[in-house]
Amino acid sequence: MKNYFRLGLLIFLTPVLLWLVLLIVIPHIELLLMSLKGTDDYGNPAWTFSHYATFFNEKIYWYTFVRTAVYALATTFLTFLVTFPVAFYITKIVSKKFTGFLTILLLMPFWVSELVRVYGWMILLRESGVINHILISLGIINTPIEMLYNDVTMMMGLVYTSMLFMAVPLISSLEGMDDSLIEAAHDLGASPPTIFFKIIIPYASHGITSGAIVVFMLALGNYLTPTLMGGKNSLWFTEQIYNEFIASFNWNQGAAFGFLLLLLSSFIIWAGLKLTRQELGRALS
């Protein structure tokens, strides 16, 4: 009997170890090593911090880095603001027979590729786009306005592409909440803001944390939305990585940027978990 179990362990453990060691651990060590490789004054291979020095010395690089971090945090916060009322409406206000339908309707657009969704916004917003056409035919404006390629549009695009990952955990945590908690507070004379901040938000905090982690990570690592909706001025850090890899073919510099981005995302997620006193395993499952 014992033998079977050890054999079982081995059979389950081997593919999982292969997956994690070969595709997760080794590649990230390689990323770190590549970022530290360079050439010395004579052109021989050597270990060096020069790629990190470049990052700190060139203003444009760390400016983009900070900008990306701030915008990704802002995206996370805005996504929460936009989706929370909808999640609350679906789970607590609308008559129960519509809950399932509205939830499915909410999920549908996110099964479609992000590229298609961004493309849809481009058709709507660009200078020759649908919204401009409608505004002009209604006589509201005379000349078309370019609504793409600015920060506001880019943020809207990022919020749009991330909403699902906030909505799903919010809906599932609010669904698990017993309505009588709110009723009791109401009967005892609590005002709506008190109920909201003292009961609903603490109860949903688990869902908020897991949603926020995923949204932040996706916004930080997004490439499509900033390049297509933000255009040349978007200055998103993943574009710098892409440029180093594909355009300049400077893989060591690109690896350094990649490693910095990885550090940033790990740090912010770690800090978020610490602040809300949660563990990664619990927040993600």
Partner: protein, 284 residues
């Protein structure tokens, strides 16, 4: 506040207004994209010039519809093949991982579980470049030491499959684990007592119980792979997947053929998603 409590009229109306706006915001880009696939115009823009199937069916000389556009058609095939292999591998390994973490005990289990979750919080771009770097270094190593040229270590079909597999497996692992947690282990013990081997138990008792989770996570894995962009971007070779191919077209100016592809994508993915949802609702 909530449905069981008295609500003021303004509160109700304002809330409903907001939710309606939200759903318009949600669907506007998709609906417009679909509509303009049928516009009889050379640009994906208004004004409406009449209904036309040109962007699906036309075969030159002015317009080439989707069904005659070799580059888009072949990228759809590449994406489907990629998604097939990714979902197959990730369901197999993810399920093994679920058994490992739910039913086995070994030193370092917590640490390994934590490691298995990390792909969810690593940005896709980083996964892409680190796998690219590793594959490239391995390729150079084989070439220098053994004079071997290993084609799949260069950006290629199988490298894309590996890159997507590396994080999609975690999703499968989470979905299957959640189902396995609900499994009543006394069923297994009964079978073991009756003389079944460990693998007979898994084959005839545990796997049938897991079937909905396996099908569901397989479908999700397929869709995630089919539409993945970030990781694929760095690993793709000459066989471009659909999202990469569409990106290149959108970046360099657009024709309604992109709308036609999008229309098909929207219709087919929402059908798969709906079937998946209905099946999982019926099962639970």
């Amino acid at each position: 506040m909530i449905r069981t409590l008295p609500q003021s009229g303004l509160y109700k109306i304002a809330f409903r207004f907001y939710v309606v706006l939200f759903y318009i915001f949600l669907f506007a880009p998709l609906i417009i994209t679909c509509l303009l696939a049928f516009n009889d115009s050379s640009f994906p823009a208004l004004p409406w010039k009449g209904f036309s199937l040109d962007w699906f069916l036309a075969n030159g000389p002015d317009r080439v519809g989707l069904f005659h556009d070799r580059s888009n058609l072949s990228s759809i095939v590449v994406s489907a093949q990629t998604a097939f292999w990714v979902s197959l591998f990730s369901v197999v390994v993810g399920t093994m991982g679920a058994f490992l973490f739910e039913q086995e005990d070994f030193p370092g289990k917590q640490g390994l579980y934590f490691l298995a979750l990390t792909p969810l919080v690593i940005p896709g771009v980083i996964l892409g470049i680190s796998i690219l770097l590793t594959a490239n270094s391995l390729g150079i190593y084989f070439e220098d030491n053994f004079g071997l040229d290993v084609p799949f270590l260069r950006p290629s079909f199988w490298l894309v499959v590996l890159g997507q597999f590396s994080f999609i497996t975690t999703f499968v692992l989470l979905v299957v684990s959640a189902r396995l947690k609900k499994f009543d282990r006394s069923l297994e013990e009964a079978a073991l007592n009756l003389g079944a081997s460990r693998f007979e138990v898994i084959r005839y008792i545990t796997l049938p119980f897991l079937r909905p989770a396996l099908i569901g996570s397989g479908a999700v894995a397929f869709l995630m792979s089919f539409e993945n962009f970030n990781t694929t971007l760095f690993l793709v070779g000459s066989e471009t997947t659909l999202p990469i191919n569409l990106y290149l077209q959108v970046r360099d100016g657009s024709t309604p053929i992109i709308n036609a592809v999008s229309f098909l994508l929207i219709v087919s993915t929402s059908t798969i998603a709906l079937i998946n949802l209905l099946l999982s609702n019926r099962k639970s």
